[in-house]
Amino acid sequence: MSGKLVKLLSDLKEPEALQFVEKALAEGVDPAALLEEAREGMAVVGQRFAKEEYFIPHLIFSGEILKGIVKRLEPHLKKGKEQKPLGKVIIGTVAGDLHDIGKDLVVFMLDVSGFEVLDLGIDVPAQKFVDAIKESGSKIVGLSGFLTLAFDSMKETIDAIEKAGLRDKVNIMIGGGQIDEQVRIYTRADACGRDAMAAVQLAKGWIGG
């Protein structure tokens, strides 16, 4: 059976992938092995996205198929040891901005790329980022924003991180909507990226992975 689920999931064959999982479970296949295959399948999706063979719809749909697979596997899985993540990343849409589509894509790509993502949601006050850095010890922070008001919110968030004495402990990336190099300089973030793949590459670069 090896590789079949990887292929079905990465080729976005939803009914076939779900049927395969159900049949395999009925035949007594180890659910943990199936979950591992699903993970591999998602990694292939991520690679295809990086190569621009896949786009946003493929990402979102693969995530949906994965949800269906996990739902079927969960009752059979023993609480076991989780894979060790590459590193922790804190992500949120900055204060005043309620947009989440871009942020969710970044969370998704970081997640399938092996990062543990702490998603703080939308309209996140600066202090919440500071608290999250303190509590989680995460070394990477991603600030998302769609509107021009986010320029100032990002700047204020980074100022707050600095005031808390944490600025040199974290790498900060920004992205979304109208964000470009000029905004990066204004906010004094470490990097800005145009899409979810850029976020993964930046995060990997920072943790040396």
Binding site: F55, P57, I60, D97, I101, Y186
Partner: protein, 450 residues
């Protein structure tokens, strides 16, 4: 003898529309009285300039320049977005100040803030706005959800108006709950049984909904009188409003506010045929929406904000299958009716340029946000007028010299041979006033065609 509208070719209709714009009327139908001969000359020169830029037959006298702000006129006047949404006179005064301060060749009106009280009356749930989930100084923001369920395509396809009234509208306006109880209008046919159709109007929830509608209508009218009055006044001062109305790409109509981003993506995989049918069903409705508003406003430019066709949102194959065919049909329908589709390429659209350049020449205008302008000029720009693409980040964070340098580059590349209107690339809330001024003033000087 003048040809009847119906008998005109699209070219003749477009020409007739421009002639109408060149000879504006006041609300009583008399020739508009300009405040000075200079204002009249400025007004007419601006219309001629846009006409030349759009038609691509003649190089204009200079590059036209417009400003397409979101909430900037209000923040620039030192008021909050909330004030602009609730005090219509203040809103109009701020917009007038904005136009007189920066003097763009034309504008698109002061409707962007909208009537806050109207949204309250109808309990609008699709957006959060100042005082209702957003800070007073911030713009309203959309709350995306699956307001249309995955299993409701047949209802939408069969009778879009019934679907909107009985399902979609009550979900996005709390006060329109009573609509869910109304039967289809198409059941009203002959005397036998006709009265049954009207029984729901006796029910308290339906009557409550109608009361809210009367109140909302009155509020909308109050606001529109102020905004419309301002348009008239600005015209007499020499500043035409070039916006005639708005419509959408069918894919965005369904993807933005009906099914949502996630919803429409699922549908592309799980029920592509239903989605395609619904896109087809929405197409004539979107054409009618544009033509209807052009008729009401007497202005042929129909704005079409484009969202989910941007780079990355769809694969090329998906774009060609789901997005472009019905968008193109909407644009062709508008052109057929004498309108000028004014599409906004929000975000990046570099990968779509070769596809969307396939449109009739001299009939459309495209607002360019972050797409490479030189590439847009080589492709789409061969057939269409481009507007843009001074970035929001430069307007807010750059210096006047940055703006002049970039504007020069734009005029030298996109402006070559005409077919270009200088403008910001994305609707902006915040900017340094001196940067906005630099964009307009520099274009007036450097943009003159020799």
């Amino acid at each position: 003898m003048e040809k009847k509208w119906e008998a005109m070719t699209p070219d003749e209709k477009q020409e007739a529309q421009f002639q109408k714009l060149l000879n504006p009327k006041d609300p009583q139908g008399n020739a508009l009285k300009f405040q000075s001969p200079e204002a009249e000359a400025t007004y007419k020169a601006s219309i001629t300039r846009i006409k030349d830029a759009v038609q691509l037959k003649k190089t204009p006298d200079r590059v036209p320049v417009t400003l397409l702000p979101s909430m900037f006129p209000f923040t620039n006047a030192g008021m909050t977005v909330q004030e602009a949404m609730y005090d219509y006179d203040k809103c109009a005064a701020a917009f007038k100040k904005f136009i007189l301060e920066f003097k763009p060749d034309m504008h698109i009106g002061a409707a962007q803030a909208g009537p806050g009280k109207f949204y309250e009356i109808l309990d609008y749930k699709l957006y959060k706005w100042p005082g209702h989930g957003v800070a007073p100084e911030h713009s309203y923001q959309c709350v995306e959800q699956e307001y249309m369920k995955a299993g409701e395509y047949d209802l939408l396809i069969t009778d879009p108006s019934f679907y909107f009234r009985n399902f979609y509208l009550p979900r996005v306006f709390g006060a329109l709950e009573g609509f869910t109880m109304l039967p289809p209008l198409t059941g009203i046919l002959e005397i036998y049984g006709v009265a049954f159709n009207f029984i729901p109007y006796a029910l308290p929830p339906v009557q409550g909904t109608f009361k809210a509608l009367f109140e909302a209508g009155a509020e909308a009218l109050k606001w529109a009188m102020v905004i419309g009055g301002l348009n008239g006044e600005l015209a007499t001062l020499g500043f035409p409003n070039i916006l005639g109305g708005f419509t959408k790409a069918p894919f965005d109509t369904i993807g933005d506010t009906l099914r949502g981003t996630r919803g429409i993506i699922m549908d592309m995989y799980r029920q592509p045929e239903k989605l395609l049918q619904a896109l087809e069903a929405m197409t004539p409705i979107m054409i009618g929406m544009g033509l209807g508003s052009a008729q009401q406003t007497g202005n042929p430019q129909i704005f079409i904000p484009l969202h989910k066709g941007a780079d990355g949102f769809l694969s090329d194959e998906q774009f060609k299958k789901f997005y472009w065919p019905t968008l193109k049909a909407v644009m062709l329908g508008l052109i057929e009716g004498g309108c000028i589709p004014f599409a906004a390429l929000e975000g990046h659209w570099g990968s779509r340029l070769k596809i969307i350049q396939d449109i009739p020449r001299g009939k459309t205008m495209w607002m360019v946000d972050q797409t490479d302008m030189a590439k847009a000029k080589e492709t789409l720009g061969k057939n269409a007028c481009l507007i843009g693409n001074l970035s929001s980040s430069m307007l807010k964070l750059g210096t006047p010299q940055d703006v002049r340098d970039y504007a020069k580059k734009l005029i030298d590349t996109a402006g070559k041979g005409g077919g270009f209107i200088m403008s910001n690339g994305a609707f902006f809330d915040e900017a340094k006033p001196e940067n906005v001024k630099a964009m307009v003033d520099f274009t007036r000087e450097y943009g003159v065609y020799k």
